[in-house]
Amino acid sequence: MIKHIKKYIFDLLILCFLGLIPLLWFRGDEVILGHDAGLTLEPISHFYDRLFAWTDRFAFGTDQTYAIPGFFIHGLEALISSLGLSLQKMQQVIFIFWLILPGLCMYYFAIQIAKKYKLRYFALPASLFYMLNHFLLQGWFVAERTKFSLYAALPLLLAFVFAWTEKKRSTFLTGFYISFLFFLLNGEASLPLFGSVILTMATFTFFYFFEERSFSKFFQLAKLAGLTLVISCILNAYWLLPFGYYVLGSYSKEVAQAGGLLGILGWVNYISEKSSLINLFRLQGIPEWYQNPLHPYANIFLHNPFFITVSFLIPFTAFLSLVVLKKHPARSVAIFFAFLALISMFFMAGSHPPFGAIYLLFVKFIPGFIAFRTPYYKFASSLWLAYAVLIGLTVNVILEYLKKKNHIFFFITSLFLIISFLAYNYPFLNGVFFDYIQGQRTNRVSVPTYVYEFGKWSGSQKRINTKTLSLPPPNNEFKVDSYKWGYWSLAPATSLLTNAPIISSSTYASSDQGDLINLLYKKMESNDSQWPKLAKFLGIKSFLLKKDFAWNLKDSPTAPPSAYEPALHRNDLKLIKKFGEWEVYDFTSLDKVTPITNAHSMDVVMGNVKAMDLISSLPAFDAKSLIYFATDIKKLDSSLVPYFQRVYSKPDCINCDLQYSYSYYNTSTPLLTPKSKLYPLIIIKRIWDEKHLGKEPVSVLNYYLTRSMQDLLIYQKLGTMREKGIYTQRSLVNYNYSLSRINPIINKLVPSFDNIKLIEMNNVFRTEKLILDGEKNNLDADTKQFLLQSLSQLNNINMTFEKYVWQTTDEEHKKYLVTIPKDDWYRISYSNHVKNEVADTLNFTLNEKEYSMPTSSSANHTSEDTKDKIYLKRGTFKMQLNQQITNLVNNSAELNIDNMHCYNSSQIKLNKNDVYRVTFFHQANKSTKLDVAFIIDNKIKTSEFEKINSDLKWQKYSKDYVTDLPKKILSLKICGNPVDKLTTNTVKDLELRIISKPDVLFYTDRSVNDHLLPVSSDKINQTLYSVNTPIKHNNKLFLLNESFSQYWNIENGNSTHFIANGYANGWLHSDPISKPLIIQYKIQRLVEAGFTITGIGVFSTFLYIGWRKRKKHEK
């Protein structure tokens, strides 16, 4: 053994020496933290937390089954930390390990090849190239250990299978070695990261069978694959069991989160923009290099002539091996790896031509291939592996030749190669790659001491279960957690610091949780007197005000910390601890918060969690309520209905902002038009479809709706092709035919449709009308006749719909559908943020009956008198609320605008998501253009002006403006055409209005003495609670204040599980409770079972191998 090491000691020393490079990356007390790094500030407690399938670190708790395969990656960090090293030292050790590991693994593989083909100078160059390169560099900026682990495993995998084909190792041992390799280096079980492993094994299998196709070879390979699979399943049971169980139910959710198939295809195109084959040959095309103009080093590699030259020398050197090894026995190796390089490039190129369309077909049609939506990064490892081998082969030939010919040349060339190699990888030497937006953002940060102090304190036994709200909130769109001391990431810094539940509206919060948390933030920012009730309702006891929060970043601004100070300076709150810039406030008056509470009854809300805005503002709102949210009266769980006490119904204002949706009814433009020679095929298909359509009216309607839309899209397509005559007429004839079929069905079916369906179909017909009108002016007289027929039929259909559909169609009459789940007396609450209006009396109609009622702000809530209330029976009511329109600009006089003078309106404070509508009448003394524009934050470009035609006739102009970006000021500018000197434009009746969306709430205010009471329980760990018996209050409704998940379960007895308070776990436990109730996160049991199987598997496999070796030795 020592003799072997001595032989390679020089090479190993060089590898290890270069492996110490990470020592150059840290300046002062900096550590690597932020972005996607996933490096934590407390490795030991973080590792302990990741042994559980549920964590309290994010929002109200979240599943982290995905994190369990990170056992070894995080375990290693925890192990080194446990030696007493500082965080920086621990990171240095870890980084050295991950930098050297690929080099050593490659060296092991390269030595096997070198020994076989007697290549003296092959192993070291190949290993160095594999260890230090730009692919790894791009991963190093976030210390992507998952990627490094599989990257390191790849050459070892090949070493094992090559040795197996050469019969140097038995099938069982090879299977065990491969399984054990991926047991330790598992890429945190991220399937996409296995892209290169799959490609490499596919290439190996191809070559394996190309040499000789026989049953015995197939059997051998099947045996190896089967053994590897079985051993891998046993060794990886600790994560396979829980992860497999979780993933089985979440594939479609993952796809939806990635933006659906269309979103994924768009992403593939974005990533593949620069991955042309020539860039891939040069080992470039890394998406980040081109997308980030402030990339720390990419611009030098893209534009500096020296680096450009080297980038061409790389593929030249690699493929030179095919020429220089023509008669060498290692030629087979060169061909294998050249093939691997080319196949890797094919996949890495993603959707880039010339093979891009094929890749997109894979994404669309191969199940699971969607996982490889970032093709460049997922298939790159095998390209770098192939290049390392090919370059190693060429360098070996060159150096062997020079060694024979001239020692000086050999020395000079070796030195040149080393210097060029280090120069080409210079970012490794100074750690500049961590500064991922040069001069602005870096992952090298100096963490203030007070942050660590807070972490320790919040992780203490006393605080570990205290739900704390983090202030200020992250930016609502980008959810970035960023601090003045440099940390920037989507992962809240507190989640890397402590296992305590520090809540913020981060990406880890579900949509409903995000809405509730944001509502609390909003109420705290405005210091709404009711905010403490909402906080208590969410189980939040404490508040962390971070004064070092980078709240004013250009791309992710949020409210400053000072905005929350007035809310925190209340009598019932106390500053209990100060850690530098971080302050912790606790409620003084709060009872002991227990994770489990119970109640005898609950309140029901017809609406979503956003209704809590109005509900929590009601004077009678009880923070200890148990609330059940329902949106559909028909889907109410009948077992829960008897427990409903108070009722809240928050109807949505239907289409109040007057922003109509358009729908193509999931139809895309057909490829074949009546102009096509193949169009008869479509006709034949339609005849066949009609024959087999059946008589079920809804299917018939769906069929003809799709067909009508297809015909109209053909009509539109022909219009863009400037077709006017017979073909356009034919498409309209077909369309009219479909409408004639739709019309009688609509008359029959429409009364039975619910309002959502009616609106959806109305949107389809509105779209069709738009398409018909769009081509109106391009048609000849004959075709126009057909168009008139279409429009007439469409008008008839629309008239039928107007009778039944319930939606707002103007600014004055707001329409709602009120769902009442229970007969009772109801009060009404009203708010309109546009006018900051709190009306005393509200006039409205319910099912056309007129009412006038005092609102929550003026009603006498103590009175049981029914005069301020309305008695409503269970059911759905059509409500109409009449609103007055307010003009935001005061211009009653006519305005005269010429080429020298513009009209500028007063400035209006802009609210996000509000719709602003401008309307006016205009005319001019001759035909001209009028420039109109909305000016946002006092900035306008000439190109943003809309040019409208104006002439002697009075014309009405109307335009809406809406933004979801945080803009501040809006104003209106109208200018005459600068070229028309003698023209005067007249503008009158100018109005700028916000199209309001008033909130209305119906509620019963009966006094209910019942509210949530604490239950004596033990939190055994974050996945297991035990409710102690006897339970003091014999209530059947239980609340666990953790995010709802179907996997939370009461182990003993029958119970109905439901979403309580909009985010938490609620149970109706109807069985008598005689023994302690166990509440468990089910997946954790699989984790425990998995770890047991893994443990036994590792132990018995080693035992078996030991026994075999002994037996072999005895023989």
Binding site: E211, I308, F312, V323, S332, L342
Partner: protein, 114 residues
Amino acid sequence: MKNKTLSWIVQNYKKLLVLIFMHIILSAAFNSPYINIIQIYISFIPYLVDWIFILIVFKLDKEYIPSLALTLFVLAYAFQLLNKIDIQEKTGEIIFILLTTYIVLSLPKLKLSR
């Protein structure tokens, strides 16, 4: 050298004419309605057919292919310096096809396990 090239052209002019004719026909065919759907997915298909034709009819010595690919790398480098990125991209595609051809032609004699 010049005479050698000339004599090669004289010897093979019929094949060359067939190749040129075939390329024109194929390009037209793949641009015609309905068949152009194939070209949407595999844009290089006429060239691929040309290349297969060349390999079969002219019986190229495969050992020249890697050298040709390496020469094209030098050419691609020149295009990079001249900022002719589009041409450089096409050169990369040709290199890819050349190297793939070489590997495919080399496979029958390949013995990885020995």
